[in-house]
Symmetry: C2
């Protein structure tokens, strides 16, 4: 158990940006909002799942919608809190802890903002160990917690409650349809879960992991060496490629950012290129010859070649010099159950096998959570 | 106050089919379901709005979605009841009466089914005096009753609650998006209203009017004369045109049935034709020269030329011999407030003026309700 500080938020924003694999929303706005909460004198405690009573009531909160909308339309700031309040009214009891559904991007920080606004602690852990574009892709519902009741709220106080939906993919469809009507972005709160359910399904320690990654990056940046290499090692991953972005294709489709980015290797003499397919997050990296380099759910993280500053999907542009870091997915995402939701086939790549990256998510000795059954 | 009988349901289905102006869903399935409720020994009382206490809690219930879906996918039968139950949970008190939101088509009968299922009375009146495709087009919300909380439920027990939406057109968008996700059809319950609010906004007596129209049709059919002419007169309208359907254009678009029907006059020597534009309901009738014959919100009802059997939009087809009955809209739909929601411009016909049909909705002496302010 520890308290959130401004320094920690700086580090979390960087680490969550890296683990966001391009998605989850840019953490920058979220960081500013969280800092504003601290400046108002509010405090937030981070609690490891093992410290949570079995009977406690928890929900995950965050923002739903295409990240690009979050950049172009500043949120009102209480969307996720309102969604949690709507959920509390529906279930008839108070939420005692909030937990990130994804550690990637802005949704790692959203629960800290809600924790500060509501005066409740935030769980050190999440349901993805990274970012994913759809809500059925989180371990809570993947491993059997009923996805509803769930709530969405918008900037003007409208809220929508979903109930009786046992299939998370159906809730995703419903939620996406409503989010589009809400202008492309909404705050969410779902699923309500007990402490016991949380402990069975959460990927523990990922908030601390993200802070650690940000810490490594800042330390290396301050003249100690190689931010990209160091952060890759700290995450348990490796640098897959370094080069210049030479093509970005991006479109907004059904509430998602879809497209691809092509990166040309530094050594222009051999002109090697890789292409990364995107659906809010970086999904699949292939060589120019079509050879698989990394495949979802493994993490494909695009960062600035010098500073290791994470580059989210909506900020990709021609000419950026970047490194691609590959990190093996958390064990919770590699079970057969999980791969049905987050493997390449779940993103429409029926013919792409999941080829595991070597290494251990979070580095050797990182608590992988479970048992998930 | 009177009880629903099987005979009355037969008449209501015909009358509601006529007042449905092509939409509101085919009343046939609803009639069978309501008859099944009576056969199970359940009873339903019809109560005039003037008999409802000011403090009573009322909501309107029915089905949302393109009528063609209701024909192709049989409903489970408790969608609207479940929506009402979800609404009751949300508002924390029991609904004491249900009221039709539209008297046209299946949505005139849906409240009778819910009344039988829940054991509560049904109000003699509705919020349209006809059928309309969108929920902001009912007098309850048009005249200021907040549209939410409102609920949608589907055939498998999923429910969605909307809250904090003050603009009925926004609720329509949200509800339509969810209905599409629910497979194109859903039961709804909204808005919760007091007896006093009901009495200020309802168009009273329309359930009885629909039964009367069905009664006239059956009487005339049984050898007494001219069903079409008699029912037009009983409704306070007139026969505008009689002929053969020579063209039907119809498509499903954004959850609506849209298109047009062309009818060729009986006297083939002069080959006169009229064309009626459709969006779930019949909207605008024009002569071949483009002259306006009847314009929404006035009622344009297509019935079988011989039997006066109403023909809903989804049953229109080449070769049917039909009569077109025109009925002046209820006074509640002709105020400036109402015309903004249900006049031709509200359906995208910015350049079409509302040219009132002569006559009085329901015939002379029919109680037009109000005051609506």
């Amino acid at each position: 158990m520890y308290s959130v500080t401004p320094d920690m938020l700086e580090r979390l924003a960087i680490g969550a940006g890296i683990l966001g694999t391009g998605g989850g929303g840019n953490p920058y706005n979220g960081k500013l909002r969280a800092l504003a909460q601290l400046r108002m004198g509010r405090s937030v405690t981070i609690v490891h799942p093992s410290e949570v009573p079995d009977a406690a009531m928890i929900t995950s909160v965050g923002g739903m919608g295409a990240p690009v909308v979050g950049v172009e339309r500043i949120s009102q700031g209480e969307e996720s809190l309102r969604a949690m309040r709507a959920l509390e009214r529906e279930i008839g009891c108070a939420i005692e802890y909030v937990v990130p559904s994804e550690i990637g991007g802005g949704n790692s920080i959203a629960p800290i903002i809600v924790g500060a606004q509501a005066g409740i602690p935030v769980i050190d852990g999440d349901g993805m160990g990274r970012a994913f574009p759809e809500l059925q892709m989180e371990t809570y519902v993947m491993y059997g917690i009923p996805p509803t009741p769930g709530a969405l709220s918008d900037h003007s106080g409208r809220s929508v409650i979903f109930n009786g939906i046992s299939d998370p993919t159906t809730l995703e469809r419903y939620g996406r349809a409503v989010t589009i009507q809400m202008g492309g972005g909404a705050g969410y709160a779902f699923p309500p879960m007990s402490g016991a359910e949380l402990k069975r399904t959460v990927i523990p320690g990922t908030l601390s992991l993200a802070v650690k990654l940000g810490d490594v990056v800042l330390y290396e940046r301050s003249g100690h060496g190689d931010p990209v290499g160091a952060v890759a090692e700290a995450a348990g991953g490796s640098v897959l490629f370094t080069g210049k972005i030479v093509d970005v294709e991006r479109r907004l489709e059904g509430g998602f950012s879809r497209g691809s980015v092509t990166i040309e290797g530094k050594d222009l003499d051999n002109g090697e290129r890789i292409k990364i397919d995107i659906q809010n997050e970086n999904l699949i990296a292939r060589s120019e010859a079509g050879e698989l380099i990394a495949v979802v759910p493994d993490l494909i993280c695009i960062v600035d070649e010098e500073s290791a500053e994470p580059i989210t999907t909506e900020l990709l542009r021609y000419g950026l010099r970047v490194s691609v870091i590959g990190i093996a997915a958390p064990e919770a995402l590699k079970t057969d159950t999980a791969l049905a939701y987050v493997g390449p086939a779940a993103f429409g790549y029926a013919d792409v096998p999941y080829v595991q990256l070597p290494g251990i998510y979070g580095g050797s000795g990182f608590d992988q959570g479970g048992p998930w059954n």
